[in-house]
Amino acid sequence: MTSVLSFFFFCSPMRHLSLLSYRCHYSRPSPSPSTLLLLLLLPSTKPPRKGVAGNGTGNVTHKKAFPVLSLDYHHIQTPFEISLWVLLASLMKLGFHLIPRLSGIVPESCLLIVVGLMVGGLIKLAGEEVPPVLDSQFFFLCLLPPIILDAGYFLPIRPFMENLGTILIFAVIGTLWNAFFIGGLLYAVCQIQPANPSNLHQLELLPCLLFGSIVSAVDPVAVLAVFEEIHINELLHILVFGESLLNDAVTVVLYHLFEEFSEVGTVTVLDCVLGIISFLVVACGGVLVGAIYGILAAFTSRFTSHTRVIEPLFVFVYSYMAYLSAEMFHLSGIMALIACGAVMRPYVEANISHKSHTTIKYFLKMWSSVSETLIFIFLGVATVDGKHDWNWTFVTVTVILCLVARVIGVVGLTYMINKFRIVKLTTKDQFIIAYGGLRGAIAFSLGFLLKKELFPLREMFLTAIITVIFFTVFVQGMTIKPLVELLAVKKKQEAKRSINEEIHTQFLDHLLTGIEDICGHYGHHHWKDKLNRFNKKYVKKCLIAGERSKEPQLIAFYHKLEMKQAIELVESGGGVKMPSAMPSTVSMQNIQPKKPPLAKPVERALPQLPKGREEEIRKILRSNLQRTRQRLRSYNRHTLVADPYEDGLGDLLIKKQKMIELEKKIKDMNNYLTVPAAPPDSPTMCRARLASDPQAYHTKSVSDSVPAIQVDLASPQSPDSVNMMDEFRRAGQQQQQQEDQGLTMRPPSRPGEAGGARDPQKLTRCLSDPGPSADEEEDEPFLP
């Protein structure tokens, strides 16, 4: 690069007037794009000004022209390169999905490793030094945490807890078995080497065991990457994935143990005992640290109702600090991170706004996705770069032993575990568990950390580790999908969680707890119930703000469901189209038991609106609108045409489509009503719009011939509410009794409760319902 620039200087007639800076500090050659840039800039230099030309000829020090444009790569080198890598990773990810057939056959991880290999090869060809990208520091502190946090935060707690015993046995005993089996047999094989004067004889037992412990751990990154694409059923997924997460503690302990012993050279019984104690400390300590940070995060989120914007930051920072704190004490950082995410999630989600929730979800997914991509690319790059020491015996024996150990381990452990499980693991399950034991970058990084002085065969180890990783990721990763199809393993159920299932889940929980109590048996369900009650009574009050602390799970679920359906409705764009969950024409009137007709006789098939009703409805509507006007306190920067207070396009869409629905219904209704047909805009609505009230489009307006249910989406205190107003209002409503109208036919609120009334978000489940007036009995459905 320097040479190119000096070339420019040579060429340019007026050296001292060159518009290009000669502050060229380049520590390493920069890539060619900057060369091109310079080449482009040169012709644009202006001819020299005469004024300065007349300086003393022999004078070297002349006045330097002010550099209008300069190039300083060193200044931004590190962030630039990091960004380039991230950009490369993202572009690769993008590219793979544009080639549909490829992503179906080959798992993404394989493709990324190949890309890494290519990039590494390119860099090497260019004669440059390959950056030590998979530097252990960088890997463990920057690349790994996002993936683990993403996994921990979204860990499905219920199946995890139900299978915790199995997962622990696989993670702890399985990994121990693997490590000792592989290490021991490798040592044996190395010792029995015939006259071949390889350096394998130098290999002692302890380094072998250390190698065994590094290569035996199932890797969460690889498992996630591959299993995500095969959509296997939840049980198997959580078993393999849980094992890959929890075996970190074992790996950490074994690694440090053997490393220490390698320095010393001998092992005593005391050391073994200390090792076991150390394992307990590492595992439980990690979980404890994570739980503490999780509770702190939950507690902090209780007070964030006024500063919604930085809510996601708390989640991320507390989790990362949990990881770092655990690593500081050489505890298991992964377990800390999982514990933190899992502990804080229920409370944080109850406290934060809907938007923050979305932010957290997307940020976590984004970071973990980029991390994962980078890890695989770097694996490829590091493969090209590293000094390899290929030893046929060692490598092949390692690969074979890994497979064999895994199979034997899984089969043996399952035999024991099945004695205690209600849902036994079948042979198919065992096969998938064994086959899904993929190794990944963690093994490589741990190998990388080995000190050369203590382990002279470090390169050989690294080569073997990389081979194992490649084998598992490529061979097992690529073939697991066809195998799953072939063996007809149960796949993940795509069905949506319905409200019925949720009701019955809860019902079953209580039922089983009750039966256990009747049996006098303090079992699984009993303790779970006790924990739940403790949680509800004390913990939730502490960690969840406001009224949400009392909300039972069923109701929370119900709110979420409604929210989802609302969003679906908006996205589907049609007002008259039914939500996808219910593609039928069944409406509430089909379900409600028939009641004796009201005062007004019903003449036609379709129920009608009695005259008196309309007036009552108008009254309700008016009071509704007034109350809504009182509620508006927030300033909103998104001003749409007719509604200065409109909260966002989403709301407008919902309202607009309800308006369309309404108009349709009114047109239908006009044929049936005995009252004169109301104009598309009822007087109330006109008045409302004149007052530029966002509730102008409020659905609770016009009377309707076909009554149905309106689903109330969000109560004022529900953080699931999409409405920004809620969040501002919530502060002022902490004392109010939460009252959820949901599907009832009652008026949105009683006159006595200012501000406790409904949020403008209403989703018509089937057809809109005007709602009876305030002074009616609530239980009477609005059906004649």
Partner: protein, 216 residues
């Protein structure tokens, strides 16, 4: 199951084991519990159940207790409620919670599913008419949310309504506006919970119990 070892002094266990599928050990443990609950009488009554302290904070307590006195659960093809039950009926009701064995054919699995779902259905259908009406379903949800005070009561209705709507949609598909959905029949109930995997969830581990140490 099926092993003909007879416990000394309890030849009648063979009969019960045959009927309910429990092993002799399990039967003797449950018998001990039965005697404990009934204060060594021959039959259990409702107030015996009410004495169990742990059960008192269970929101669906009354429904669970009623299930024990519901003749439909006795596999005797009779209906109605009784006032007291003997050990055999106790055991039969408990057998609904037995975990399925490892090697079962699909038919057997299906029949186990049906049996368990029938039990649940009977719990919901309190008036014995073979359908779960809206009122009954509302009652179920209300009981579940009964510990939440006034908040629960209002939402319970909406949740029950939504759930009922879902059942109707799944089962009936298309309905005219003036048609009326009577209630959830057993077939609809089966269809509704077809993905629920009840045979693996509705189970109690009966063997690892040592009830004599617990004086409840």
């Amino acid at each position: 199951m099926g092993a003909l070892q007879s416990l000394p002094g309890h030849p009648e266990y063979a009969d019960l084991a045959e009927k309910t599928g429990f092993s002799f050990e399990q039967i003797s443990i449950l018998h001990k519990r039965f005697k404990q609950l009934s204060h060594n009488e021959q039959t259990l009554r409702r107030d015996h159940f009410n004495e169990i302290p742990d059960l008192s904070c269970n929101p669906i307590r009354s429904q669970i207790i009623e299930a024990f006195f519901d003749q439909r659960n006795f596999h005797q093809n009779s209906e109605g409620k009784v006032q007291e039950i003997g050990f055999e009926e106790f055991l039969v009701v408990m057998s609904h919670f037995r975990p399925p064995s490892l090697h079962m054919t699909d038919d057997q699995r299906e029949s186990v599913r049906k049996e368990k779902l029938r039990f649940l259905f009977n719990m919901h259908d309190t008036d014995n008419d073979g359908t779960i009406t809206l009122e009954e379903y509302r009652h179920v949800v209300e009981e579940l949310l009964s510990h939440s005070g006034a908040l629960g009561k209002d939402t319970a209705k909406s949740i029950a309504d939504a759930a009922m709507l879902e059942v109707a949609s799944i089962s009936m598909g298309h309905m005219e506006p003036d048609e009326f959905y009577e209630g959830i029949t057993f077939e609809h109930f089966l269809k509704l919970l077809s993905t629920f995997e009840i045979e693996s969830r509705m189970n109690i581990r009966f063997l690892n119990m040592d009830t004599t140490t617990l004086c409840k």
